[in-house]
Amino acid sequence: MRTETEMAMSAGVSLGALRKGAQAEIIALDESAAVTTLDVGELERRLIEMGLVEGARIEILHEGFPRRDPIAVLVGDSTIALRRAEANAVMVRRLKD
């Protein structure tokens, strides 16, 4: 897991940085990259429970207002809304901008 996380960090793309229309594949979850007041490990588990798990294909469908936050992300067959602060924990590989 460590190495995967490091790979993602070096690629440096998190879901939280993507813009509307971007498509990507999730490669790792890294809580430490997100701002959260939840207990350690909690955000990761919640993300997985909502389908944001390694290997899932995602697409950013909508952005909120102001500051393009939160975002609505298509994950598999459902649409998940989340804030960019938490989306930063999701490391992705870009497929299309």
Binding site: R46, E49, L61, E63, G64, F65, T79
Partner: protein
Amino acid sequence: MPKDDGISIRPAGPPRIALVGNPNCGKTALFNALTGARQKVANYAGVTVERKEGLFVSPGGTRVKVIDLPGTYSLRARSPDEEVTRDVVLGRRADEEVPEAIVCVVDATRLRLNLRLVLEMKKLGRPVILALNMMDEAESQGIAVDAAELSAALGMPVVPTVAIRKDGIQPLLDQIDRTLQVAKSEGLAPKSAPCGWSEPSARDLRDYHVEVETILAQAVGRPSRPHLATRRIDRVLLQPAAGLAILLMLLFLMFQAVFSWARLPMELIDGGLSAVKAAIDAGMADGPLKSLITDGIIGGVGSVVIFLPQILVLFLFIQILEDSGYMARAAFLLDKMMGGVGLHGRAFIPLLSSFACAVPGIMAARTIENRTDRIATIMIAPLMTCSARLPVYTLIIAAFIPQRQVLGGWVGLPGLVLFALYAAGILSGLLIAFILKRTVLTGAREPLLMELPAYRLPRPRNVLLGLYERARAFLVRAGTTIFALMVVIWALASFPAAPEGATLPAIDYSVAGMIGHFLEPLLAPIGFNWEIAVALVPGMAAREVAVGVLGTVYALSDSGDAMRHSLAGLLAHSWSLPTALSFLTWYVFAPQCIATLSVVRRELNSYWWPTAMFFGLTSLAYGASFATFRVATALIGE
């Protein structure tokens, strides 16, 4: 008392099944289809989570109890609602027997997310039936789910259902019979495996996902695709500028409807109550009993029940917004802005509802999962100007604010003052939320992790059943707690009775009058005279009651509108303008409503918060009135 082994000796009584599933998978629709109107809503002890139970007779002739558990994505509970779901299926609740069977409801168009919970449920070692709901939509989207394959892969019976169609639940009913038969034949020693569930780690959750993918590959011919119509609609409704404009328009419409649609029924209720009162007046000898019935019960409880039409219209809108899937979008659109003061996007609806009446507003705060977010929302709900304050505002405005056009003749001064009163409430509410979230209600900021469900046309039957439930809950409340409180306040305002040949109004001799006189020196610095102080006590029953009491203390014999007119004239002569402004300010902030305080107590299951609300808002009201009175006096003189 954890009973994790799942072996318990059943008390006599019908077998029970529990409905479990992700939010929006159609659990409530299924529950309604199973039970029709034979349902009962109560609260789980100690938490304000609704406990919905119903009864139906299976095709095999068995009476079955069914409970609709709060929707969840995981048995790892994250909110009081989800805790109830977890504890019931694990048999950890003392007040709820372990159900004989669990019906896991999944949305067939979103199996990827839904099946993960099913795998978790399987670990419980209890009989589980999988209801593949929304099969109509799955079919029209061309998703080919093979129920037999799915059943083989999951090791549990799988039945397709369409909860919104008359014949859509027959396979489920038949399966319930079969499952209960097996459970019964196993009798007191169920063969069900011991509970193998423990809180899953991140690794377990990932494993579940891998397993789901394998199962999907096996059992679903054509993979599901995102709902196209929903995507198209969202392109407009979630577009930042247009989306917000549409949301505001919707809210405006809702607000308008609350006041305009409800006017006629409210007048009818008012008329009905007055007629009953008049009949009793004519037919009964004067005395404490008559006063209790007319002033205490009809006057007190009636003043709350009169809001029923508004509450119904409000809940009608909320129910439709929820069932259609729009509510999650509203939270999405407002999350960032509400987040500015530390509130959750979902806080918006409770606050908006509070403009009609804080009681349903506070009840609507149940949709906020995080407790600190919910407390913050509830604490500022009374600052949203409820419609009970309108009679007070209009009375004082009519008496003191001249009918003058301002801002180049565009707006009238009275309207402007009314607007300022509303704005003062909203702004101070947001400010208080901000302060609360920075100080006492710190703690985790709940992530906004929610699904945006597909848009669906709300079904009249489900909307009506939901509405009926809420109306019932409100009336039960008005008939019990609020009734009792009203009687207490009536007693305070009626006893001891005025002595023979009394010259002052009767209320002056009562406990309420004494409290008023006692409070007078305390209230003098904010410009209140003793008449106001006396009116404040019965005003606790319902804000607008204060108008009537002012009429009484100023010894007016008129009633209704006539009284209001002459009272306005009288007040204009006997109060100074600073006093009037101070009184208005007081009404913006003061927690002048016992029904609100009691619903806060119940919803938060705490005496601390309503107490804090009472003293906090009273101090705020005092401070603000003091400032208003002093500034106004300095500017315009006494």
